[in-house]
């Protein structure tokens, strides 16, 4: 890197003065690479890409960006599905992947201090031998970072019983958009003041950059039971999910996969999923031994009464891992069916699942699209995957139209726009479907308090009429064109 010339761009030169030339990338290839995230949205335009390694360096980068009138977009692994990390308007991109140390594990306080670039699964692998784990487990947990989990308030299958990221973060050191550093929350029982920790989590990088995060560590359960129930129809599976909860059982996870995705998964991992079933329900209960066994038995009974054609209980850890590998690789398995997919993320009341699922299939059929469903049924968190070939003329418009109808059907059933992927650019313009002008104005007030100058990840979360003046400064918005 020594041979790299000093940039003539004063912003880049100032960044290099702090981070060194090897941790500031401004070449077209690097900027193009980070113009995208894992969503299907067309890329934005990245400015200089920075790789800080400490709170002080993040602070310096943020201050330099501010003094040059540049926005800042934080980025972890880039696995987000709502376009939250897509840089708009050539902002400075702050990549946290070099801040990837587990700083401290304190079993008395039941916390771990981590840097934002620590990979979710790496943290749990570190904690397991100590008898603990980090509860949020998004499907992308092998790649996604804790900082990204904080930004999106991420979930995962096991948040049914354990809750999403906000329930597992006690404190954060945050570099605010003006370069000030604050600690939000605390390790004590009830930190005083406004819950700005809670307000920050799920802010999608629009409220600042977390540089140190104290996460709660959760004791590993003494017993786990994993069941796979097969049904003739997805409506039956969804109905049983509601009945399990109504019976006073809160499993650790309840995941449904329809026939289309089950067949694809079985071809992929050979877990013994029943490929002739209309849908399968994967249920996991954990906790002390006796209650776990009892709950598993009751769930099997409720399942059979609800039409389950088979109930399989994982015989051991190996079989359990295999069943979960099927669920967690479901999105990858879709590649066997179609070259591209668009994954939606709405939530509806559990009781509305059968009717909304029916509507999802009808919508896809009407638009001439194939859809498969694999989702967190216990939370009512739908994940319809609209499958398509982007080379086929006219497909993209149909995917757009079908997606919007799925959102509308979910909201009409008493649901919400996003259960765990966040708003990003994907659902920013849908926000007025869920919130009134007054509601959005109040969300914007929170954002303004953190970021009065609108420098943090502009163009995300709030639609243009409701966010501070950020939109006007952008060179262009994502076209909503599918990759």
């Amino acid at each position: 890197m020594r041979g790299r010339p000093v940039s003539a761009d004063p912003l880049v030169a100032a960044l290099c003065a702090v981070l060194g030339r090897d941790r500031v990338r401004d070449d077209a290839a690097e900027r193009a690479l980070l113009a995208h995230d894992a969503s299907v949205f067309a890329g934005g335009a990245a400015g200089p890409v920075c790789f800080p390694t400490s709170t002080e360096e993040v602070r310096a980068v943020v201050r330099i960006a501010a003094s040059h009138g540049s926005a800042v977009v934080p980025r972890g692994a880039g696995t987000g599905l709502a376009g939250g990390a897509i840089p708009l308007g050539r902002p400075v991109v702050v990549v946290t992947t070099k801040m990837n140390r587990i700083l401290e594990v304190d079993r008395d306080d039941r916390i771990a201090w981590v840097e934002p670039g620590v990979v979710n699964l790496d943290l749990t692998k570190h904690l397991r031998p100590l008898g603990f784990h980090f509860a949020p487990d998004p499907s992308s947990q092998q790649a996604c970072t804790i900082g990204g989990n904080v930004a999106n308030n991420s979930g995962g299958p096991h948040c049914l019983a354990y809750g999403v990221t906000s329930q597992h973060v006690l404190a954060l050191d945050v570099v605010l958009p003006d370069g000030e550093v604050v600690r939000l929350g605390g390790l004590d029982a009830e930190p005083p003041g406004y819950d700005l920790r809670g307000a920050f989590i799920g802010g999608e990088g629009t409220l600042g950059i977390a540089t140190r995060i104290a996460v709660r560590i959760t004791k590993n359960p003494p017993a786990v039971r994993t069941l796979l129930l097969a049904f003739d129809s997805i409506e039956e599976a969804a109905t049983v999910v509601g009945r399990v909860v109504a019976a006073g059982i809160v499993p650790a996870a309840m995941e449904v996969m329809d026939r289309g995705i089950t067949v694809a998964v079985e071809n992929f991992v050979h877990a013994g999923y029943p490929v002739d079933a209309g849908a399968v329900l994967l249920v996991e209960v954990d906790g002390p031994e006796a209650g776990t066994a009892l709950d598993a038995e009751r769930i099997a009974e409720i399942g059979r009464a609800g039409g389950a054609t088979s109930v399989r209980t994982a015989a051991g850890e190996e079989e359990r891992a295999l069943l979960w590998r099927g669920r967690k690789t479901a999105f990858g398995a879709v590649a066997q069916i179609a070259p591209s997919y668009y994954l939606h993320d709405t939530v509806v009341p559990r009781a509305a699942l059968p009717q909304v699922l029916r509507a999802v299939y009808e919508i896809a059929e009407r638009h001439g699209l194939m859809v498969v469903n694999v989702f967190h049924a216990g939370d009512g968190n739908l994940h319809p995957l609209l499958l398509f070939d982007p080379r086929e003329p006219g497909t993209l418009a149909r995917v757009h139209a079908a997606g919007r109808e799925i959102v509308e059907v979910s909201l009409a059933a008493g649901g919400v726009l996003s259960g765990e992927h966040g708003v990003g650019v994907e659902k920013r313009d849908y926000m007025p479907l869920q919130f009134s002008d007054v509601d959005l104005d109040h969300q914007n007030r929170l954002r303004r308090a953190f970021d009065p100058a609108c420098r943090a990840n502009p163009g995300k979360v709030l639609p243009s009429g409701h966010s501070c003046a950020d939109i006007q400064s952008l060179e262009r918005l994502p076209a909503g064109v599918w990759a």
């Binding site: 050191d173 605010l176 809670g198 007025p432 007030r445 929170l446």
Partner: protein, 348 residues
């Protein structure tokens, strides 16, 4: 397709709040002194009351802020459910505005984790909705968490949707003299409470009967106390003030207790405030706590003495002030009351 419009009761409440003049809401006055009294001349209102909709199969309840917490718990109990709100009198709105957790928070969950949606009346007298009705939701900024514990200084709570949970099949309290409470806590998978007053330890175990019994046996084996563990009806009577400590700080309390392992040397020491500016978290000398009941694994200490002030760092104070200014630019909501008063305590 936005959330259903506020009903008549909420609209009337918003009209009462209006857009001018200092205003506050009174509930059961069980925590009235928290954050200081409202300034003289503040108009006091009551929030609308009533349980709007309990959906046991969704594990949610929509309840108006003026509803008594006891009434809510009675309604939920009829279907075998409960919420995280501490059952000690007062109203739902008051409990949310103060945000204190139940003494058995390990079993019942934290109050702020239970709030799915809030409806509040803003400083300019309109009803605002934050959050959503479903048990999982990350749509937009988390206004419900911001409102919990805000003492009515950002908006006046009118209605909330709360997450409910099944009441466990069995709940049993046990007590023992001279047990090391940390050994009890470490031996148990998921106790609902482990409380310690300097000599006696109380434990609440909940769940399926066989699991509770197995946990009880684990408790006995891990602590090996001379007099053994006896079952009791309830936990201890709690002293009136709350101190917020780190769970690990309670070990120092234990070491400093009469007869404790470090009694001669005393304890105390620095808190966790790191390089970033947060609240000064050092609580000072444990000996200042007086009569106490400590919640092991949580960090709350119920004390006969008020906790010392914990002023926020200048940067955090500035951020909090900007939040307050954005939501209540004229300072008309609960004037005189602050989430960062001289201390973080409130008489119980």
């Amino acid at each position: 397709m936005t959330a259903p419009a506020p009903d008549g009761a909420l609209v009337r409440f918003a009209r009462e709040v209006g857009a001018t003049g200092p205003v506050a809401v009174e509930g059961g006055r069980t925590r009235w002194d928290t954050g200081g009294d409202p300034a003289a001349g503040t108009r006091l209102l009551r929030a609308p009351a009533g349980i709007v909709e309990h959906r046991p199969e969704e594990m949610t309840v929509r309840v108006r802020a003026g509803t008594a917490v006891d009434e809510l718990h009675d309604e939920l109990a009829a279907t075998g459910q409960r919420t995280a709100l501490p059952r000690r009198g007062g109203t739902v709105g008051g409990a949310l505005a103060v945000g204190e957790n139940d003494v058995c928070v390990l079993g019942r969950g934290r109050v702020r984790d239970a709030v799915l949606q809030v409806r509040y009346v803003s400083a300019d007298g309109v009803v605002v909705t934050g959050g959503g009705p479903t048990v999982k939701n990350v749509t937009g900024y988390d206004l419900p968490r911001l409102l919990v514990g805000s003492l009515g200084t950002l908006g006046l709570l009118a209605e909330a949707i709360l997450r409910t949970n099944p009441v466990p099949a069995v709940s049993r309290w046990f007590r023992a003299e001279g047990a090391v409470p940390f050994k009890a806590f470490d031996a148990l998978f998921r106790p609902s409470a482990v409380l310690w007053n300097g000599c006696t330890t109380w434990v609440e175990l909940e769940g399926h009967a066989a699991d509770v019994e197995a946990e009880r046996r684990a408790l006995v084996a891990a602590t090996a106390v001379a007099g053994g563990w006896s079952e009791c009806d309830a936990g201890p009577v709690l002293p009136p003030y709350r101190w917020s400590l780190r769970p690990s700080e309670l070990r120092r309390l234990h070491e400093a207790a009469p007869g404790g392992p470090g009694a001669a040397g005393g304890a105390g020491g620095p808190g966790e405030a790191g390089e970033a500016g947060g609240h000064g978290a050092s609580i000072g000398e444990p000996s200042g706590l007086g009569e106490l009941v400590a919640s092991i694994g949580v960090g709350t200490v119920f004390s006969s003495r008020p906790a010392p002030p914990r002023p926020p760092s200048p940067a955090l104070a500035a951020l909090a002030a900007r939040v307050k200014h954005e939501f209540d630019p004229g300072g008309r909501l609960n004037p005189g009351r602050s989430v960062d008063p001289a201390g973080s305590v409130s008489p119980r």
